[in-house]
Symmetry: C2
Subunit: 488 residues, 2 copies
């Protein structure tokens, strides 16, 4: 079918072709399917969006990725039914739980990066991994394929270290503290973090409330050169574009298949050039994983890490309740500063950070085995960690000037006295998202009590902060219905 | 985030919102995700397409489905992160193989129809069914939900009958023959068929080469009133929009999960008001299903059909090789006409059609048990079936005038003598698609030999017809590489 090209300067990052509804019917093609678009001797694949109205029947609007690839100079292209990319065949294989070959995984990841797999195909890929799993070899191949698909950062130094938490625990903002402690004694920590996926805020969202986090690779290198560390958002660096895409599609139904989780973390550690990697796996009721799952993950992290030449330690930590008091970007920054400034800090956040920092200090040889925590506390008490954090934030064009709360607040008080029996992480995350997080940096909640704390009648359990009354009420309603905190 | 609305008269059939790349980054949203779009007190959900160039940062382009729903009169809307539709939660449940409740299936199907599930979510739904299956109750609920989501056709008569093949066998065009034979003796057959999914041509594609198949419900009723039958395309009738959408997404990786197959077929039979349903399950090497799978499907069809008040017979037929000689729309019409006109017809196509027609005649009481085939042959020999077919085609604005082959042809000859050992259905389907089918109605292949036929050196085994030399060569190359026909 010959169609007239309407130019729209689409830069959708994938090869989109807008086809008129009538033409789509003639060709029996639908949204998300592929067509072959040809001009002279060039042919490329477009993913169809069916529209009517903004182009006429007989016309086609093409994204720049397509027009550039075709070197289009004419006003007309020919379109036909698109063949499936090679990797589609492999996807089907996994639906029958047949393990992927190395070359197949590489092909799938490359096609995800090129944008030639549709949303639905990526979902099938994820489902396959979710149902059938991947053996250690496959997971290693997946890690390598994701690593190779993106940019890499190289360093002259050897003591490049990294930490990572698998997430799921509200307020668990140990990263800035651990990075500050460790880099204060010369460990190089080019830390990249993610934004919130299912939680109320990711480390990148939190740091973004006080500094620039979407650094280019050059900017990141410059910050690390200056300060020995950074606290950047991983997403803007192009380190693992395949992984970003897979996470986008997984997040739709909030699944996180184990092989993808392993590969995603390890590939990013390879990309930033880390040699020493400490992984925090919070487990328990309300955490992402149970203790037995955490143990199995630990085992896999260590085995695959070894295959990839990484030195890995894995800590299984208590993930059964939120950590710290503030949940939400600015609220979490305030907790971090309390710990670093040696003010009246949330002890759970401080202790966990010291434990993690201590392990890293031991791994890299900055402390003897068993003495890491003590060393970490010394660094913290000396004020060096706070100074380092200040340096990093400054190098990332940030400051601690603006730390106020959101406009509206509401205090939730308990009507009975008792002892806190449980705090549901997922509900707390959701509640905090309803306040406007992570977009509204000043929104969030302050959790006054933790598990096993005693509470008196009329005492405040949670303070909600929000930029709008509507969101405040939404959060409050959710709290009333869901009751995320239960007394014993 | 407040955005200026650019009007584009998008009628995409789903709520699409084009968001500028910069704004999407700020909001941390990606292609295919949901946003909440609000104006005054109205709020609706949009599915995001990220673009740059054809709208500016700060602008948003909305499909009519959205602007209508919002009753938008302002130039500005507010957008925020979209909550997930309820059914997303159910989708995740099935990923853990937990059976769906009736209400959950209904909700999912309704949201698929409204377009509020993304492509990826539909893919997750399909994956879930594919891996975990569905029990009989669930499959019944799925059938009812699909049936209820669409339009229904009602009839005064009681002897409404239907036939259906699960497909996969090239050239298996028994439907027009069976419909012509049965409706010639007064059985009402409002037959709707699909277009090619994985095969080279569906019955709708074949009939479309000589008549109009995209009938409205009124047109379909008028054709049936006039002739007692029709041969329409099911897709334009809106009978089972949920099913259409699910098939679109399944077809991407060419899977056809059993519960979906059962529900899809049975829902459509309910929609056209059928009481008697004959189902053809071709099985064997190269067919969609093995004999044991065919037996299990038969059992399920009958059990679920009973729950739904349908009278069902299921035939297990040989699906190990193509049926008839012509494969491709016009080529298949020529075979059908040979059978109906009592010319030198492909005996396999004729025999299978007589068998199926005979069963239907028995089911509806037009022949005694065991005497159906004989009765069918009488009708065929009497010329009444041909006359009926002519009537139907004429009522659908068609004729038998244009039955020529495509412009280019190539004869593939065998270099050795021997006996045909196997003909691979999938390869033959793919080969035929490469010739340009089903879009190029005159393209396709003529299969001169079948399994167990003797062939002499230099004899033609396949003639390829195509509208372009390029496609002809593509098909020929595929033949050479794949060798779909093997000698014993």
């Amino acid at each position: 079918m010959r169609l007239k090209v309407r130019k729209f300067q689409l830069k959708a990052g994938k090869p989109i072709a807008f086809v008129h509804q009538k033409d789509a019917e003639k060709l029996n093609i639908n949204v998300g399917e592929r067509i072959e678009i040809s001009y002279k001797d060039s042919m490329t694949i477009g993913i169809v969006d069916v529209v009517s109205g903004f182009i006429k029947s007989g016309e086609i609007a093409l994204s720049e990725q397509i027009t550039n690839k075709l070197k289009l100079k004419s006003k007309y292209v020919n379109i036909g039914l698109g063949e499936y990319p090679k990797s589609t065949k492999f996807l089907k294989k996994k639906l029958n739980c047949i393990p992927y070959k190395k070359s197949e995984i590489k092909k799938i990841i490359n096609e995800i990066v090129k944008g030639s797999l549709t949303e639905a195909e990526v979902a099938y890929f994820i489902s396959g991994i979710n149902y059938c799993g991947m053996n250690l070899e496959e997971t290693k191949y997946l890690t390598e394929a994701i690593f190779e698909s993106g940019k890499k950062i190289k360093w002259k130094q050897k003591n490049i270290a990294d930490k990572h938490s698998i997430g799921g625990v509200p307020g668990n903002r140990t990263t800035p503290i651990v990075v500050s402690i460790c880099s204060a004694v010369g460990i190089i920590m080019p830390k990249t973090s993610s934004r919130a996926i299912t939680s109320a805020a990711g480390t990148a969202d939190v740091i973004e409330s006080i500094a620039k986090v979407n650094l280019s690779i050059d900017e990141l290198k410059s910050v690390v050169k200056k300060t020995g560390a950074c606290l950047a958002w991983g997403g803007s660096l192009g380190l693992a574009p395949a992984d970003d895409k897979i996470i986008q599609t997984s997040k739709i139904i909030r699944i996180d298949p184990e092989p993808q989780l392993l590969a995603s973390i390890l590939a990013k550690k390879l990309s930033v050039g880390s040699k020493f990697v400490l992984i925090d796996i919070p487990h328990g009721s309300g955490a992402k994983v149970s203790l037995s799952k955490a143990r199995s993950l630990k085992d896999k992290f260590i085995k695959i890490g070894k295959k990839l030449g990484l030195k890995i330690r894995v800590l299984l930590t208590d993930g059964s309740q939120p950590i710290g008091n503030g949940i939400g970007p600015i609220l979490e920054v305030r907790d971090i500063l309390k710990v670093l400034r040696r003010e009246d800090s949330p002890k759970d956040l401080e202790n966990k950070s010291l434990k993690l920092a201590g392990e890293l200090l031991e791994m890299v040889g900055k402390a003897k085995n068993g003495k890491g925590r003590k060393k970490a506390l010394e660094i913290l008490n000396s004020g060096k960690a706070y100074k380092k954090f200040e340096e990093i934030i400054k190098a990332q064009s940030g400051s601690f000037k603006y730390l106020e709360f959101a406009k509206y607040k509401h205090e939730i008080k308990f009507k009975k006295s008792g002892k806190v029996k449980s705090i549901n992480n997922k509900d707390i995350n959701y509640l905090t998202r309803l306040t406007g997080c992570p977009l509204d940096k000043k929104a969030g909640i302050y959790l006054h009590k933790h598990k096993r704390d005693k509470i008196k009648k009329g005492e405040t359990i949670i303070t909600i902060y929000s930029e709008s009354k509507h969101k405040l009420n939404q959060a409050l309603n959710f709290y009333k219905i869901q009751k995320p905190i239960r007394l014993g």
